[in-house]
């Protein structure tokens, strides 16, 4: 996976966010403040413009510019969370021209660690963590099991989708949704939904 392949991944993520912008906003209206779709869409549009203009040469450079752009354009909690995730991925990716499957898995693990460091969420808080953590675990487990990357990333997507669905009955303990207490149960978490698009985009565009 070189810089162009990672750019294709982010382009597909941007497309999924844009085409599900209303869904994300609707989920966020139920338990948040109705801006997740428009904020992330604005951020990813800016990311694509930056990547097109600058053509960063390495995977790390692509990831770093993505993180910086998201921090600068998204706002809310999603900006620092997604931004920190991509900045940590960039650091983990090193200076090589390409990333292999295990290298990508290591970077995605670093992204998860970044989300935890910034947002201090744990499993069951009804956040993006609840979809991202199972995806990262599934990717690592499948690769350790000797599965090819294509199958491993599909397993990661299934785990993210299950994690996303599992947020519905949860009572939120982080972010604005937590102010609702018990009333946050019965709604799927918008952050878990958007991060599942990130994994879906990886499954659609990346192969080890």
């Amino acid at each position: 996976m070189n810089a162009a392949v990672l750019t294709a991944w982010l382009t597909e993520f941007a497309r999924l966010v844009s085409s599900h912008r209303d869904l994300l906003t609707e989920l966020d209206s139920a338990i948040g403040d109705a801006d997740h779709g428009s904020n992330l869409d604005r951020g990813m549009t800016a990311v694509l413009a930056t990547l097109e203009k600058e053509s960063p040469p390495t995977p790390a450079a692509v990831l770093k510019r993505t993180g910086m752009t998201l921090v600068s354009t998204v706002g809310g909690a999603s900006g620092p969370l997604y931004g920190t995730a991509f900045l940590r991925m960039a650091t983990a990716a090193g200076d090589d021209d390409t990333l292999d499957g295990p290298g990508f898995a290591k970077a995605l693990r670093a992204a998860l660690d970044g989300v935890v460091a910034r947002g201090k969420a744990v499993a069951g808080d009804k956040t993006m963590y609840d979809a991202l953590a199972p995806a990262v675990d599934a990717l690592d487990a499948a690769l350790a099991d000797g599965q090819p990357f294509d199958e491993a990333i599909d397993a990661a997507l299934r785990a993210a989708e299950q994690g996303r669905e599992a947020t519905t009955p949860m009572v939120a303990r982080k972010g604005r949704a937590s102010y609702l207490g018990e009333r946050s149960a019965g709604h799927q978490d918008p952050g878990a939904t958007s991060v599942t698009f990130l994994i879906a985009a990886a499954a659609a565009t990346l192969s080890g």
Binding site: D33, A34, D35, N39, G75, A77, G79, G175
Partner: protein, 333 residues
């Protein structure tokens, strides 16, 4: 959606252009979406920076000026500004005495201001101290929430800390003053209607005509419970009781009683509410030293109101009475 706008995507930049046109004494940085005192940085004075999502006007931009804030960062509607904005604001107001960030306790605001303070330290060496406001008694402060929200008391923090900075107090003294106001203030709000974020185009939540939502914040997020509409006397009780239960407001020099419109509730209804609230306070043995009634921290076009009580001593009262000259709050100047 019925709104006086051009394009939902341009509400914030269009409003900033309006502020620049209406208030030539302010400097508006359109690129970074900042409202800055025209004479910033003020040499030797602690700089006060706040900011948050737009849609709460006059908070924060309307409180920029002598006696209050030095700069305010405007985020998208109901969305925290980004660290770049806060960093630019910090640089613009640093007069050599350090900069205080006043942050409402919302996850996004806290995270973005946190990143900005890290950047300011690394890039410029400006000393930054942050004070987070969290006065909303509707939220249980526990491990299971993001903590209490920063709401009405933020206005009072900005006024009183601003007066302290004007007197030439040091960064740590101004920060202590801001914390003192936050620690002694409590708020509770309610909504009669939802509000409509321009980019969303429809109300954030449904609220039937005969119901109201108790314990709302200022971002159109639903509150904790829904109850049937009631007379102002009963509504006042629902707002004031949890505040009085949370902190002892009797004795001392009394309180500043702040009754705030969420945006669409007219002043006449706020005064109906104020009358009921004053009666409840008198009965509870709470002396009102000063009052503030009006739309100061709003939630777009939401109808409803909030009550904030701040327990004051002689020092806080003197700072409250000190001159202030901003678009949203002005006296003695």
């Amino acid at each position: 959606m019925k709104k006086l706008i051009n394009d939902p995507a341009n509400v914030v930049p269009d409003a900033l252009r309006g502020i620049a046109a209406a208030h030539p004494e302010l400097r508006v940085d359109h690129e970074n979406r900042l409202i800055i005192r025209g004479d910033a940085p003020v040499r030797g004075k602690v700089g006060l920076v706040s900011g948050g999502g737009s849609g709460h006007e006059p908070l924060h931009g309307g409180f920029v000026g002598p006696g209050m804030l030095d700069a305010a960062c405007a985020g998208e509607v109901f969305t925290s500004p980004v660290p770049d904005q806060m960093l630019a604001a910090t640089k613009a107001v640093d007069g050599g005495a350090g900069v205080l960030h006043i942050v409402k306790n919302y996850t996004g605001d806290v995270m973005n201001f946190e990143m900005a303070a890290e950047l300011a330290e690394a890039e410029t060496g400006v000393q930054v101290v942050s004070v987070v406001t969290d006065d909303d008694v509707a939220v249980q402060d526990s491990l299971y929430t993001a903590g209490r929200r920063g709401v009405g008391v933020t206005v009072l923090v900005e006024k009183i800390a601003g007066a302290g900075a004007d007197q030439g107090r040091s960064l740590s003294e101004v920060a202590d003053l801001a914390k003192k106001v936050n620690d002694n203030g409590r708020s509770m709000g309610l909504a009669l209607t939802s509000c409509t974020v321009p980019a969303a185009g429809k109300p954030t939540f449904d609220l039937p005509d005969d119901q109201m939502e108790i314990g709302i914040g200022i971002h159109g997020e639903p509150g904790r419970r829904r109850v049937p509409l009631a007379p102002a006397s009963e509504v006042a009780e629902m707002l004031v009781s949890p505040i009085l239960a949370d902190l002892d407001f009797t004795g001392g020099d009394g309180v500043i009683a702040f009754v705030n419109s969420m945006g669409a509730t007219p002043l006449i209804e706020l005064y109906v509410m104020y009358n009921e609230i004053a009666a409840i306070l008198a009965k509870a043995g709470v002396t009102v030293a000063r009052s503030l009634v009006g739309p100061y921290i709003t939630s777009l076009d939401m109808a409803g109101c909030s009550v904030t009580l701040l327990k004051v001593d002689d020092e806080l009262l003197r700072l409250w009475d000190a001159p202030v000259n901003t678009a949203g709050l002005r006296w003695g100047a």
